[in-house]
Amino acid sequence: MIDAYFIHLLILIGIYLILAISLQLSLGYSGLLNLGHIAFFGIGAYVSAILSSSGVPFLISILVAGIISGFFGWLLSLPTSRLKGDYFALTTLGFSFVVYAIFLNWIEITKGPFGLPGIPRPNIFGIDFSSNTSFLILVIILVLISYFFIHRICNSQFGKALEATRDDELAAKSLGKHTFKLKSISLAVSAFFAGIAGCLFASYITFIDPSSFTFINLIPILLIVIIGGLASLRGTILATIIIVLLPEPLRFIGLPSSILGPIRQIVFALMLILIIYFKPRGFFGKVDLE
């Protein structure tokens, strides 16, 4: 029983980690306060759920989910290319509301508020990942692959050019950097991995509905990035573990679920206030939160 619960938590940590490091790429490294990240997670979840339920192999589903989410990330970069700070945040927030409305109202495809049940667990080349233990192995593999790529991007000259754009876009342009291209690629790659996380989420829970992809679901992910520290991947790992585990003891107090949710939000809010007050750069942040 304890083992099953522990495995469940590890799976959640893995999925949240992919989602958080992908947000770290656009927010921490590129300086784009992307409040539409949860929409990419949702797009990935729905695309893979629809494909997997139609019998498409998991590997193709997950790749298509990532690519379609990445495409929407790139698409979002077009109207937001000249926006910064609050304006960028509001536009991307608007995008997440539009995507949510589509999940809710495109009933023929998404089944609206009833959601998509019976999403199959992955099966790759005959290897069955239907047990939670085997699913955890798959999550670990995908976490490692996602971390490898995002770490390589952030620590390469491409990542430095992204950081330069974040710090001073005009100065980066004055050095001949095509900052629009840099930001577009960053958003697309970030959305791609959010889509991968969405696919994992859908195939783990085996049921999705629009309520999993609202702005409120982005708050813990934003919190992870801020608490871990902007432009710090190791901080993101530590913060993911803390944020996933922090509200867990509340389950054992015996509170009704109607109170549990709001208490969880209060715990997150307190954590954010304490971190901003005592450690404004988060655990290992390299950049001030502006």
């Binding site: 390589r152 000259q157 491409f158 430095k160 005009l170 100065a171 004055s174 001949g176 790659v189 950049v287």
Partner: protein, 245 residues
């Protein structure tokens, strides 16, 4: 090398640059001087593509660059030092400089698979420029930790490393101590010896007169005089407009 033709820029009711025309010769240091608010930095912003003129044209080696973006103009060979430090404050001095010489950093796959490496050649170029401007000891420091003077020199080094045909320096000696200022005079003269073309804005007149081959005086957005430093020193209109005597 650089030709400005009938350039005009208005901000609301204010004409910042008024039908301005002049030319910059290759291999020379040309200084743009004038009182505060005379339109010098606006001219720099127009040349580097940050703002677009209401009328007029700008030619770099006979190529009209008026519709080019900031990054395109930089890639054509105009490298600019800003009036206020515009460094990448969360990166190290070295990282700031590598960004100036790396033109493959937007190629994602090349970077992911480690094919865009910082070569020994690039490292050598960064080392040399840091030695030349005298801030080698700061190379691994985060820019935020530097003094104003060190930031100025780092940005100067970055501007020079950025591949260019024309260097535009907006008040390079602003806010730095007399010793560094003296070194900077020799450094700029050294650059000229190596055939570099420099367009300079500077308020420090002894500094300007000791490096410039040619001086263009701007007042209220207009060119009021142009010539060798000695001619400008004697020009009554300049003395009246700029020095108030």
């Amino acid at each position: 090398m650089l030709k400005i033709k009938n350039l005009t820029k208005k901000f609301g009711g204010i004409t910042a640059v008024n039908n301005c025309s002049f030319e910059i010769e290759k291999g020379k240091i040309t200084a743009l001087i004038g009182p505060n608010g005379s339109g010098k930095t606006t001219i720099f912003n127009l040349i580097s593509g940050i703002i677009k003129p209401d009328q007029g044209e700008i030619f770099l080696n006979n190529q009209n660059i008026i519709n080019y973006s900031v990054d395109q103009i930089s890639n054509l060979g105009i490298s600019r030092l800003f009036q206020q430090p515009r460094l990448f404050k969360n990166l190290t001095v070295k990282e700031n400089l590598f960004l100036a010489i790396d033109n493959e950093d937007v190629k994602l796959w090349k970077n992911i698979f480690g094919l865009n490496k910082i070569t020994k050649e690039k490292q050598g170029a960064v080392q040399k420029i840091l030695e030349d401007v005298g801030i080698l000891e700061t190379k691994n420091k985060i820019v935020n930790e530097l003094s104003f003077g060190q930031k100025r020199l780092t940005e100067l080094a970055r501007t020079i490393l950025n591949p260019h045909q024309l260097l535009m320096l907006d008040e390079p000696a602003g806010g730095i101590n007399p010793k560094i200022k003296k070194d900077m005079v020799n450094f700029l003269l050294g650059l000229k010896k190596r055939g570099q073309t420099i367009l300079l804005i500077e308020h420090d007149m002894p500094f300007t007169f000791s490096v410039a081959d040619s001086i263009i005086v701007i007042n209220m957005g207009k060119v009021i005089a142009q010539g060798a430093p000695n001619e400008i020193k004697q020009n009554k209109e300049v003395l009246e407009a700029y020095l108030g005597c």
